[in-house]
Each structure stands twice: as structure tokens, then as C-alpha cells.
């Protein structure tokens, strides 16, 4: 990972890596766990009961608006109960135990993606359970009140969020023709909106002939150039933006993997069941990118790759800079998981609650120029508003501040805590406002 350059006179710089290797397809696991909720969306209501026998691709749970969770295995529903999201929130999940033989639901393939019209493609994707992290309906526009605001730009990111992950960029090397075809389909679905495909600079030249109708954006291998949120901001012509503002401005972000999978699923007429995940760390000479079923427990993947995990090791969903540590190897791979990183006990890094010496290195490296040291001190002592005003609201959660802090303070965590405390406060304020309004209405 990055080092301090020129005797520490210049800022440390973290580079994205570009290793390659084959994508390894793992045999289906003997059990999967599928979350019944995704961020910012209605939870799914189970349509099967414990004990039911299901086929691969069958609908397990759905929302009133037809988005669904599909079985990624053939087998029996063994439980419906609590499950943890990668960042530790409790949601409902459904567990399947594999049967001996895999049976798929009947497929309804789309003959030629390029001949279909937008509604056909979007409806097709909804039926195939595309629901997270984006909804195909997003491509129709953003609903605000009674209005449908049209989409202005669609960004397709074929770059990974962190060094050490090779998922999105592998789509360009290993699934190039599927990707190109799918981008054409996205272009149809997005109608008049501008479609921007974001790729590592080195791919830009060779792709320009294959993707003639879209805008190609090449990014350097500097870690911070690869931040998805800042890329959206760049496309929108602003410095930085929130996810909500992006949505309201009609921006949609799709990952290259989601796009490629969407095209493939439409062609095959089967729901999505697979996910690419880069596994790296202890015991592996080189990181490996594997293709596995959604819902596969981390432990199964590690076992397949011959990785032993022992006491005191750390297992992350995600990479070194942003990843979420897991306490349970049964935690499943979800659509948002791009990497599993294993750190052996001797290499785990422990931030400490030591005081800030005010050296200023965190603020110097922050890509959005937050006064991190100050904001973090506010957050540390529960002064959420002050932390927010000092810049916490602009944090893109890149982790660089914590990476350089000589006092080893958990800076990213302080920023995250301020952000979530503020979100909670806003939510409860909105709630009590609604209550007051309701009270006033009933009094009248």
C-alpha cells in the first residue's frame, strides 16, 4: 500500500493496482443466505415458508412493486430470520440448503437486446429481480412527489473502489463482449440521457471503437480519482455531491458488473445468481477473483481457496481502506460485496483513542479538503452539529485520513459516526414534525 514519498515531504499516494489472473468459478455452495432488505428500499415480504422446496431462480420474496429476491440455489428453505448487513445492521434474511441436483426455473430469453425497446428491457429486468443497489426503474426517472424527473446522465463505472479489488475492471477484460452489448441495452433504456462509461485510462483507447455511442471517461490509477461519488460529481459538473442530490439531479450510477449481468440475464431469461468477488490476503500469493453464488458464506469461499482463518485474524467485506470487518464467517456475499480481504493476526491494524496532536496530515490528504482533525475531535465528544459544519457532511469515506494519522486515530469512524448521528437526528426530527402536524390536524 502507499508509502510516504520523498522523505515524507510529499503526500503519500495510493495507487490502484492492475494485476490480472483468471476468474475462477466456484462450485455452488451447500447453503446460501439472502438478505430480504436493501438500503433505502422497502423490505421484501417472503412468499415461501420454512421447509419449502425451491428451484434456482424462483422468487423467494417480493415487494408490492414486483421487485423480488430469487433463489440462487435449488433446495430447501431452512430458516427466515435475522441476518447482518456488512456494516452490522440487523435485517431479515432467508437461508437455503442445497439439494443434490440443481433445477432451474423456466427461462424466458430476450432474443436480441438491440432490437428491444426501453420498457421491454426495464420490465424484463424488474422481473428478473434486479433490485440492488440500483433499481431498473431508476432508468425511467426519479419520482419526486407526483413528478417523474427524467434521468440526465447514467455513469457506468468499470473501475474498482479500492486498491486490491479487481471486479469491475475484470468485466472489461473477461466479459468484454457481454459488457459492450449490455451498454447498448442501457443506452436504449436510458433514452435521451447521456451515458458515460468510466474506465481505467489504459482501456480508453481500445474501447473507443467498441463503444461508439457513449462518452468514455478515463481515470488515472490514483486511488482518489477512482472514487465513485467524486466521479458522479465530475459528470454533474460540481465538486462533490450527496447520493440524494445525485438522484434528484437525475444521475444514475451503475457498476460495470451490474450492467454486464443485466444484459446476460436478459439474454438468458434467468435471474441473476452470481457475483464476482476478489479474495486477497493471508495465505494467498496473489489475489484471486472468483465467481460465486449470491448469498455464499464467506467461509465457503475461503475454504475453496484453501485459506485458513484462525483466532485474531481479520476478515473484511471490502478492501483495506473502506472494508467492513466481519465477526462471523457465515456472513453472506451480497450484490454490494466486491471483495473479501483476510488479514493475518500479526498484520491487523488497531486504531486507538489517543489524542490528536493537531499535526494536520489528515486535512492535507483529504480529497475534499475537510478539516478532518477538527471535525473528528468534535465528533469524538459528541458535538455532531459542529463536526458537520467542520465538513463531516462532505466526507466521501475514502479512509485516507485514518491511513496517515500518526496518532492512529479512527478518523473515518469518527466521520461516519457524525454522519449517522446526524441522519438519525434528522429522521427523528422529521418524525416528531409529522406527529405535531398529525396532532394539529386531528385537533381541527
Amino acid at each position: 500500500m502507499g508509502t510516504e514519498r520523498l522523505f515524507g515531504f510529499l503526500k503519500p499516494r495510493i495507487e490502484m493496482d492492475s494485476w490480472d489472473g483468471e476468474v475462477k468459478t466456484l462450485p455452488p455452495p451447500d447453503r446460501v443466505k439472502l438478505p430480504l432488505a436493501c438500503v433505502g428500499q422497502m423490505p421484501f415480504v417472503p412468499e415461501v415458508q420454512v421447509g419449502a422446496q425451491v428451484r434456482s431462480g424462483q422468487i423467494l420474496a417480493a415487494t408490492p412493486s414486483r421487485t423480488a429476491v430469487h433463489a440462487t440455489l435449488t433446495g430447501e428453505v431452512t430458516s427466515i430470520g435475522p441476518l447482518y448487513t456488512p456494516d452490522g445492521r440487523e435485517i431479515q434474511g432467508i437461508e437455503l440448503l442445497a439439494a443434490d441436483k440443481e433445477v432451474w426455473v423456466t427461462a424466458s430469453p430476450t432474443e436480441d437486446l438491440r432490437q428491444a425497446d426501453a420498457d421491454e428491457l426495464i420490465d424484463g429486468l424488474v422481473d428478473l429481480g434486479f433490485n440492488s443497489p440500483w433499481k431498473p426503474e431508476d432508468l425511467r426517472g426519479h419520482i419526486q412527489g407526483d413528478e417523474l424527473l427524467p434521468v440526465t446522465s447514467v455513469a457506468i463505472v468499470a473501475i474498482d473502489r479500492e486498491p486490491g479489488i479487481a471486479v469491475q475492471r475484470r468485466i472489461l477484460t473477461d466479459f468484454r463482449s457481454d459488457f459492450v452489448e449490455s451498454v447498448a441495452a442501457v443506452k436504449i433504456m436510458a433514452d435521451d440521457a447521456k451515458v458515460v462509461v468510466v474506465v481505467p485510462q489504459r482501456f480508453r483507447g481500445e474501447l473507443s471503437s467498441e463503444l461508439p455511442n457513449v462518452e468514455l471517461m478515463g481515470v488515472s490509477d490514483d486511488y482518489i480519482d477512482n472514487d465513485w461519488r467524486l466521479i458522479l460529481a465530475r459528470i454533474a459538473g460540481v465538486g462533490n455531491l450527496t447520493v440524494r442530490a445525485a438522484r434528484e439531479a437525475g444521475l444514475v450510477l451503475l457498476t460495470a458488473e451490474d450492467v454486464a449481468a443485466a444484459g446476460l440475464c436478459l439474454k438468458k431469461g434467468l435471474p441473476r445468481t452470481d457475483k464476482l468477488v476478489t479474495v486477497s490476503g493471508k495465505g494467498l500469493a496473489q489475489p484471486v477473483t472468483v465467481s460465486t453464488r449470491l448469498g455464499t458464506p464467506i467461509g465457503y469461499i475461503l475454504e475453496q481457496l484453501g485459506l485458513e482463518v484462525g483466532d485474531g485474524d481479520r476478515v473484511l467485506l471490502g478492501g483495506l481502506l473502506r472494508g467492513h470487518p466481519q465477526f462471523d464467517l457465515q456472513a453472506p456475499i451480497t450484490r454490494e460485496t466486491d471483495a473479501v480481504t483476510v488479514l493475518g493476526a500479526p498484520e491487523v491494524y488497531h486504531p486507538v483513542e489517543e489524542p490528536c496532536i493537531n499535526c494536520g496530515r489528515c486535512g492535507q490528504i483529504c480529497p475534499v479538503d475537510i478539516q478532518v482533525g477538527l471535525a473528528a475531535r468534535y465528533a469524538e465528544f459528541g458535538l455532531v452539529e459542529e463536526a458537520y459544519d467542520a465538513g463531516a457532511h462532505a466526507c466521501i469515506e475514502c479512509g485516507l485520513c485514518g491511513f496517515v494519522c500518526p496518532a492512529h486515530r479512527p478518523l473515518l469512524q469518527y466521520m461516519r459516526s457524525a454522519i449517522s448521528a446526524r441522519a438519525d437526528a434528522e429522521a427523528s426530527a422529521a418524525e416528531s414534525e409529522a406527529e405535531v402536524a398529525q396532532g394539529a390536524a386531528s385537533e381541527e
Partner: protein, 322 residues
């Protein structure tokens, strides 16, 4: 069945560039070594005695203090070592042993622990201590009075004191070259101008201190002195005399650059440095204490949170237009 492994969890990031607080303070202390050696060469065993006694006492008191405050680690973080060394270099070679002990105690208790230790103090502990001693035992701190029994190749009076009492006529008896080499009465090592400059440059090049602060301070001092000197060359000392006498260089590279008591934003650092240089010359020229640098620093320390409000704007979160 084997029980599942007990995994370690902690918050992201899970990698670190490798810098530590001890590394930073350790290098700052290291950069003071040339000046300390120069001081020992000039003042002999008496100088060594003061340095070792101060550092030793500070470390012991700091250890006790952190024990009492139930804090971990801070003796090993190097900041006590650095500040002990700084205090030792600031005291003159004839300082009685009991005063050294008192100074160490004042610095650890009042300067550091009282404000909550490292990262908490609002005033530079070294200069705060020196200021307290200066007000409490002015005669004891008078280096010239306590170093009389020596044969010296240079005038046995502090340059700034000579200038304040005799006026600009005194300046000629202190050639810049010998000031630069530390040939002046003062602290054991705080007047080793050239050696301090070398140490400071090392720190700047390695990125252990912010380069803007010392540069701004020296520029501020130079310009203020220059303006005064040009307005009345007979009464006001020339700029380089200010830069090379007393604890100016020591302040520029080792005191003002203390992170906790200074600003972090680039322009704030410039304002802080220039402001301090200006104040230092003014206090030296018109104040009661000849080396006003100490009080200038303490005043700027107090103002630093305010000054640090000068910062480049955040790359703001905006709502794009459709």
C-alpha cells in the same frame, strides 16, 4: 466440531502508512542534538549537567503524571523527551539544580498534565514554563550574572540585553558570524543559531514540521525589524541581529512548529508565523523583557484557534442543476 475462529474487528481503514507520534517527536528531538552538542562543547560539563538533569526530571515527572492521570503511553510518545530537551537547552549552564527540578515540575504539571496532556495544552509548555520562571526568579535566570567566572572569547552579556541597555552601539560588538556560531550568552543550546537551523532544515525536508511556520516567522521578524531599522537606524537594531540573537531560531523551528499550539491550515500558518515574528520584534524593542519572543509565542498560541479559522474552502457538497 471445531469452534469458529474468534475474529478481530476494528474500524476501517485497515492499513496504515506507518507513521507514529513517537517517530515525529523522536526526529524533532534528534534534530536538536547538534545544538545540544554545540552547547556542551561551549559550556562544558555544566551544560551537559543542565541538559541531562532537565530531561531526566521531565521524564520521571511525566511518568508519574501519566500514572496519576491513568493515561497510557505518553512517556514513550517522545513529546516529553522533546520538551525536556528543549527546556534543558533554554536554561543557562549555571542554573542551580533545584531550579531545574522546579522547572521540570512546572512544565509537566502546569504545562502538560493540567491541560490534559499531549494534544490538550493551549500554550507551549516549554515557553510557558520559561515565562513562569522568568517572572518568579528573574535574577536566577540571568545567564550573564551566573556565567561570569568563565573566560569567554565573546562579550559576557546577552546580545539583546546589551542592545537594550546600551542601544545600537552594542550591536557592533556582536559580529553576525559569531552569533551564527552560537558565540553568545544565553541558554545552553537555544542560541546555537547555525546548528538549530541545520536541525530545522532536516525536519522540514523530512516533512516532520510544517515549513510555512518557521519561514513566515523569520520573514515576519526580518521585515518588522527592517522597517523599524530603516525608520531610525540609530535606535533600532538591524534585522539580522534580531534573527541571530536570543532564541529566535530556536523559536522558529522548534517552538512555533509545535502542532498542538499552532494552526494546521496553510494560510493560517503564514499569518501565525508572520504575526509572531512581528510581535517578537515589537516586544523586544519596546517591552520590559529583552527576549520578547517567549511572550510573542504565548500570545500567538492563545490566538491560534482563531487564526486557524482561515482555511481554504471545503470542496463543497453541491446540488447539481438538472
Amino acid at each position: 466440531m471445531k469452534r469458529p475462529p474468534l475474529l478481530s474487528v476494528a474500524m476501517a481503514p485497515h492499513a496504515h502508512v506507518g507513521s507514529t507520534v513517537a517517530e515525529i517527536y523522536g526526529h524533532q528531538a534528534l534534530a536538536l542534538l547538534p545544538a545540544a552538542i554545540g552547547g556542551v562543547v561551549l559550556w562544558g560539563l555544566a551544560g551537559l549537567r543542565v541538559i541531562l538533569l532537565t530531561v531526566g526530571c521531565v521524564l520521571v515527572f511525566e511518568w508519574l503524571g501519566t500514572r496519576l492521570m491513568k493515561r497510557e503511553g505518553s512517556v514513550l510518545d517522545g513529546s516529553a523527551l522533546l520538551q525536556g530537551l528543549m527546556l534543558g537547552l533554554l536554561l543557562h549552564a549555571g542554573t542551580p539544580w533545584w531550579l531545574v527540578v522546579v522547572a521540570a515540575l512546572v512544565m509537566v504539571v502546569l504545562g502538560r498534565c493540567f491541560f490534559g496532556g499531549l494534544g490538550g495544552y493551549a500554550l507551549n509548555p516549554v515557553f510557558l514554563t520559561y515565562a513562569i520562571l522568568l517572572v518568579s526568579w528573574p535574577a536566577r535566570l540571568n545567564a550573564a550574572a551566573h556565567l561570569t567566572n568563565r573566560v569567554l572569547s565573546f562579550p559576557a552579556v546577552e546580545p539583546l540585553v546589551a542592545w537594550r541597555t546600551v542601544g545600537n552601539g552594542a550591536v557592533e560588538s556582536f559580529p553576525l558570524g559569531s552569533l551564527l556560531l552560537g558565540q553568545q550568552i544565553g541558554g545552553v543550546g537555544s542560541s546555537m543559531v547555525l546548528l538549530l537551523l541545520l536541525g530545522g532544515l532536516y525536519l522540514v525536508l523530512r516533512g516532520f514540521i510544517a515549513w510555512r511556520v518557521p519561514l513566515a516567522f523569520l520573514v515576519g521578524m526580518f521585515l518588522t525589524a527592517l522597517v523599524l531599522n530603516l525608520s531610525d537606524p540609530a535606535n533600532y537594531a538591524p534585522p539580522l541581529f534580531h534573527l541571530f540573537s536570543g532564541a529566535a531560531m530556536f523559536t522558529a523551528f522548534f517552538v512555533l512548529t509545535d502542532f498542538t499550539t499552532g494552526p494546521v491550515n496553510p494560510w493560517a500558518q503564514v499569518v501565525y508565523g508572520v504575526g509572531c515574528g512581528l510581535l517578537a520584534v515589537i516586544i523586544r524593542t519596546f517591552g520590559v523583557f529583552p527576549d520578547g519572543t517567549i511572550f510573542a509565542v504565548l500570545l500567538m498560541n492563545l490566538a491560534h484557534p482563531l487564526i486557524d479559522k482561515i482555511h481554504s474552502p471545503l470542496i463543497a457538497v453541491e446540488v447539481p442543476t438538472r
